[in-house]
Point group: C2
Chain length 317, copies 2
């Protein structure tokens, strides 16, 4: 590794897909105290959102008292929240982000490439408020087929601080990562980021490849807790940095917090499994798989069969 990348831990944000963004208060406090003493640069603590349908927990809305508490526990860290671009317009940002100014350094946007133009309007409004802005652009495995949205990146170097490639399906391999980075680099000078998923147990390999090819920031979560098959594990990446003498890790507190999340994992069962492998290898959305696997009611074979039908329907279209 020639250049050490910035590391962003998004355990509470991405892990919230399993807990509906509710987390035990003691666990959050232990997580924060541990992260505060690790070589992690940014900590994404949740979403912020206008009210949306159905019950969603504390870390989906991150009210000011939550942000205040988190900042007190992690005074040295740059805190991050993410917005679902599909729900948020530029007209929302003053009310939505005004109360975040004292606590949040970076605001990320989860963006479907088909809404890219709209996202730029939102990004400019957020940037004007003084935040760093990150673009988390989804479905990177499809970009090779449809990359026209990337032309819109011209002249946005001062608006976007980090342009993330998100492996939404968990289906890319190192050669894809390299090709897509080259494609993006041909369109922008933005600092690049990579957010991997572990469907095919390629999150670590893809992340290392992304770093070697010029990504300057990468995402990870404790125990890989995150939507579907989950993410690169923070403890794996840190252990790697330690073994390479790039960073020195203090394992005592890290181990303790990892143990607690491992325990939570036995309840919520994130991580890859045959249905996620199948959806990753065939670029199928993991939302549906997550519902089926999470219900713990269908045998794996039924889920894979249903996915196989989806795949054939996709191929027929």
């Amino acid at each position: 590794m020639k250049n050490k990348p910035l590391l962003l831990d998004c355990t509470l944000r991405d892990g919230g897909y399993y807990t509906n963004w509710d987390f035990d208060e003691d666990l959050v406090a232990e997580y924060c105290r541990t992260v505060e003493n690790l070589p992690i640069d940014y900590v994404e603590v949740g979403y912020r959102s206008i009210p949306v349908k159905g019950y969603l927990g504390e870390y989906f809305y991150c009210p000011e008292y939550v942000l205040k508490k988190l900042k007190k526990l992690m005074p040295s860290k740059k805190l991050v929240i993410i917005l679902n671009e599909k729900d948020i317009r530029a007209s929302h940002v003053n009310e939505l982000l005004g109360p975040c100014k004292d606590y949040i350094k970076l605001v990320r946007l989860a963006i479907d490439p088909s809404n890219f133009k709209r996202a730029i309007v939102l990004a400019k409004a957020i940037k004007k408020m003084g935040f760093e802005v990150g673009f988390n652009v989804m479905y990177m495995s499809n970009w090779k087929e449809n990359s026209s949205f990337l032309d819109l990146l011209e002249d946005l170097d001062n608006t976007i601080d980090y342009f993330y490639m998100v492996d939404s399906f968990g289906g890319v391999f190192p050669k894809d990562v390299i090709e897509i980075i080259d494609l993006v680099k041909s369109k922008t000078n933005c600092a690049l980021g990579f957010h991997g998923h572990n469907n095919l147990e390629m999150a670590m390999a893809n992340t290392l490849t992304a770093i070697d090819h010029g990504c300057s920031i990468v995402d990870a979560t404790i125990t890989g807790m995150g939507r579907g098959a989950g993410n690169l594990r923070t403890e794996l990446f840190l252990t790697y940095l330690d073994s390479q003498k790039i960073e020195r890790i203090e394992y005592n507190n890290l181990s303790a917090v990892v143990s607690k999340f491992e325990k939570l994992k036995t309840e919520f069962l994130w991580g890859t499994s045959l249905p996620y492998m199948f959806s990753g290898a065939n670029s199928l959305p993991q939302k549906q798989v997550m519902e089926w696997v999470g219900m713990n009611r269908y045998p794996i074979s039924s889920i894979v069969n249903a996915l196989n039908n989806q795949k054939e329907a996709v191929e027929d279209n």
Copy 2:
């Protein structure tokens, strides 16, 4: 993937480290019937051994009635047994392997490079009996420092059918795999194999790299069941082959047998975790880690601390 490699499934052999080589008879039967219909070329069913100290189950000794039963369940497969080179001499082979002739195609030897000369004597005796011979040579991450044993490979092309590189510590990365393959290729024309471990979640990435750089056979196990952090998962590799249209997989039976092994995994807890990541990243043996993790009695932090001490002792020497 330019050339499809041969696939060797060693679930019962490597998984035996967790069950002490005892497996439920119905599970074995279901495993065999499933494997029989999958694009798996070789199936390693266990060790064969002279009596060694302590109790070790059926698949550590693989008596003839076991081999006969397995062959009946998997008539189209090439069955494999492995010998621990450290325990077996050429003088044992007639008695030990004579009864295997009707059932076993390939005999592999697990070899410490420091016993390489002795292993060649054993290999010649086995080859003379008509078996294919595989060398599973351990500690590949150390070969770059000490590769003199590879000079002994000259003139062994007719003795060794497969020369496997074993990532014993689970610590190699694709660039290491490439370098070590180049090193081995400079010494022999043997068909090369790769046996990965998943400590750093690199088993899949390393295996794909090995194949791209000329390995013609690779190992995997159902759910990754295997010593320490375990192996490349058979179902992951097969799903990949299916998605690439290299093989067609029938998922129904595969899913069912994967489910049963996943259930066993909740009891025996193979797979990676922070202690295995640490031992992998620092090239420490996983035997000790496995005992500590398996006892389920020590907090992760104590295990990592003990490993840290081991690492410093290694560095001091």
